[in-house]
Point group: C2
Chain length 458, copies 2
């Protein structure tokens, strides 16, 4: 066995012990919190002229895992991803080891076909009987950017060549609860964040269709040109679903591109609810006129020769705004193959049932208050320490409670949950239940622990 | 051991056997070519309601590796990446298993600090004694897009909010040999591909500084506003280096942002010459006024709370146009730590020496013709079959030669090399020598094999 092989073998043992077994063990900590200054020392970050021995490098690997947050731990609820999905993890190891990029069939034949198969199956599940087109890309923000760019291209293809200089002021709409990536897209694409009109949502976080219509009229009356509506299926904070059917009717009436819906395009991240390894994120588009290709192509002669000996429509690279692009679809394909659609469905059902259990328990417990009944996997709630209960100014006191409890839970390493303010609502916990490894006991533990960490606050 | 652990163990054995040992074994094929139609059958792509057994899934893993191109094979010269780097590979397995995203210190403490350490060291090597800022992102195309966007933001920060509608026509410059990602950026950013002015290069592929100056004057005379120059250090086809010092002088005189240089920003992909696992790509910027943050921030309240208990400047997520972002810096950090700067340098030197050896051998061999003496790791050459040698119309015959040889080499699986046309030059081979595992024998083999696959062509 070569030295490299021996090192890889030993490192794989470390990965299994530390990042698989220990990281998912409920008896272990979720995180081993260190301040940036302390962690810098612990990690021995300096890069030098000379190298280090394999045994030292293995120690660095152990440290990297040890001080990282265990996002696969049953008590990690801090993000919209969680849990360890072994099939997807193995697939991601394979994509790393095989080390290729999805631009041409000739360098990525397997993954080109797998991406195609996965995209087709996803479109089938969405209900696009006639199919469409799509592309995996590095995250939901990129998917949303693709949607805006394609909508703009469909609206006025000339912009690709001549820029926005002679274009009318183009306006986009998203709910006030929509993800910030729509604004980032507007900034990057030269459309301007001020031309993203925020449509009011109701108190559950759902876009109000009549308010969308008003905003469209407003934009028109200002001489601007509406072209794009983003509907959200599962908002970041509350997990709310915009009323897509009603929004679709409005978009049809006004000839606007509707993203995340049955009309034009969808951003779907299997790395969230379906637990695929990061990143696994698809952008799907109903169009079948090669819009992706026409909008993004640059026709590089060193990659996309037209005199190849195979059907060059399998060279998908020019659909992307990237050049190198990772075969993320394989992570989803392998787990889907192993689990089947039914088990994927059961997992989501189980996670949602757990979220409902959590919400019911929060409702019953003294000192805990639900912001609203959860629509999806996000459960938002306040914890009010005994000293603040029933006080008229509990609200201002609450601003401090969640950050302090968060600090204490991080330093204890017992669990991880996010918190935030929202509008005039003081800091609340936002817990996202995704991992099917999570049990009712884990959820009970979370509430016990919050109380135990915060009961002295005043 | 749980079923999941057992599966992971078995899969890791498959990965080591197939994707490490066999994939780098010179006795094995570089690729096992199958047409898309045939490969579709071999892979059994269909995703069903029910799942499949672990043993079947392992078979799928084997197939995925078997029919993928072996980019780590010593005879893979088809792309600007090659070779297996074990430290980087292990690091990428760890980032997959640890499964986190670089937006906040709290979910990615280790990788946040490692990214910072790697970026600082890279800037030190570039010679930015005062430091700067930077971000790892999914590929060089994205880095170039970052550069254009920051240059635009520095030129006129209002564009972020109000869009390009009242802006003057902004013009960018890159050489005719520059990478297509600059055009893709212009399209995506609403600047328009026609506003990318192609500056003529000399016959070695280097930008002609006086021609840049002429183009700048031309744009000004048209009433447009130049703001950005892209210089290329290692063009995609010829591996040519633009004369950065002279270009920098011109940019300074005209107050233009210069990308890939010592003045403003650099795109540097360790996944190319330094063999880090895909993707490992940094964008570096000399600015120290938080331009990255100011240009891209959207201040999401659910991630970037300002009342956290640690220094929130460690939350780097808002510098990115993405939301989730992978800790790619770790792949570079671990290999750098293991090898040291000196070994990295030796590897590059060795690859360049091999490229020179190849060029010398091409020059000596009958029927082979160098396009030019290589400046970097790209060696471009023609093979002329005996029947075409000395013919006045060899040029048109050559158009067919490389594609047919490529088809034959793919079907034999003996090696992989790219080909392309360039301007009025008929199809030639573009070979990129990166992998330090490549020996002189491998290079001799390549030329023998080209002759043996193509000697009957006429």
């Amino acid at each position: 066995m070569s030295a490299a092989e021996r090192f890889i073998h030993e490192a794989l043992e470390v990965i299994i012990d530390e990042a698989v077994k220990k990281a998912t063990d409920v008896q272990e900590k979720v995180c081993d919190w260190q301040s940036p200054e302390k962690l810098r020392e612990l990690l021995d970050l300096e890069l030098k002229d000379g190298g280090e021995s394999d045994s030292k490098i293995l120690q660095h690997c152990k440290n990297a895992i040890r001080y990282s947050v265990k996002t696969s731990h049953p008590r990690f609820f801090n993000q919209l991803f969680a849990g360890l999905e072994p099939y997807s993890m193995v697939a991601s190891f394979i994509t790393e080891a095989v080390k290729t990029s999805l631009y041409t069939y000739e360098v990525a034949p397997v993954f080109t076909l797998m991406e195609d198969a996965v995209l087709k199956k996803m479109m089938e599940l969405i209900g696009w009987d006639e199919g469409g087109d799509g592309i995996f890309n590095p995250g939901g923000s990129m998917s949303n950017m693709y949607a805006v760019n394609l909508a703009r291209y469909r609206f006025c293809p000339d912009i690709k060549e001549v820029g926005l200089y002679n274009a009318p002021r183009l306006v986009m709409f998203t709910s006030q609860e929509g993800h910030y990536s729509i604004s980032k897209a507007a900034a990057l694409l030269g459309l301007g964040t001020k031309n993203v009109y925020a449509v009011p949502s109701d108190d559950r976080g759902k876009m109000i269709p009549s308010a969308l219509e008003e905003k469209i009229e407003l934009a028109r009356s200002e001489g601007a040109v509406p072209f794009f509506v983003n509907a959200t299926a599962g908002t970041t904070v509350f997990g709310a679903f915009d009323p897509v059917d009603e929004i679709a009717d409005i978009c049809e009436r006004h000839s606007l591109w509707l993203h995340v819906d049955v009309t034009d395009s969808v951003a779907w991240n299997p790395h969230k609810m379906l637990m695929a390894c990061l990143q696994c994120s698809a952008f799907l588009i109903k169009d079948k006129t090669s819009l992706l290709q026409r909008c993004h192509s640059a026709k590089a002669s060193y990659l996309f020769q037209q005199d190849k000996f195979y059907d060059v429509s399998y060279d998908t690279g020019d659909k992307s705004v990237q050049c190198s692009r990772k075969p993320d679809a394989f992570k989803f394909w392998l787990m889907w193959k192993a689990l089947g659609s039914s088990e994927l469905e059961r997992r989501v059902d189980r996670a949602l049932a757990m979220a409902r259990y959590l919400a019911q328990t929060v409702k019953k417990r003294e000192g805990f208050h639900l912001l609203m009944k959860p629509e999806y996997a996000n459960v938002c709630f306040w914890y009010v320490p005994p000293a603040l209960r029933g006080l008229p100014d509990a609200c201002s006191g609450l601003l401090q409670v969640a950050p302090v409890i968060k600090e204490r839970m991080m330093k204890t390493g017992s669990m991880m949950i996010g918190y935030q303010t929202h509008g005039d609502k003081p800091n609340f916990f936002r817990m996202v239940v995704i991992n099917p490894q999570v049990s009712k006991q884990d959820l009970d533990f979370v509430l016990d622990e919050i109380h135990s960490l915060g009961k002295d606050l005043r």
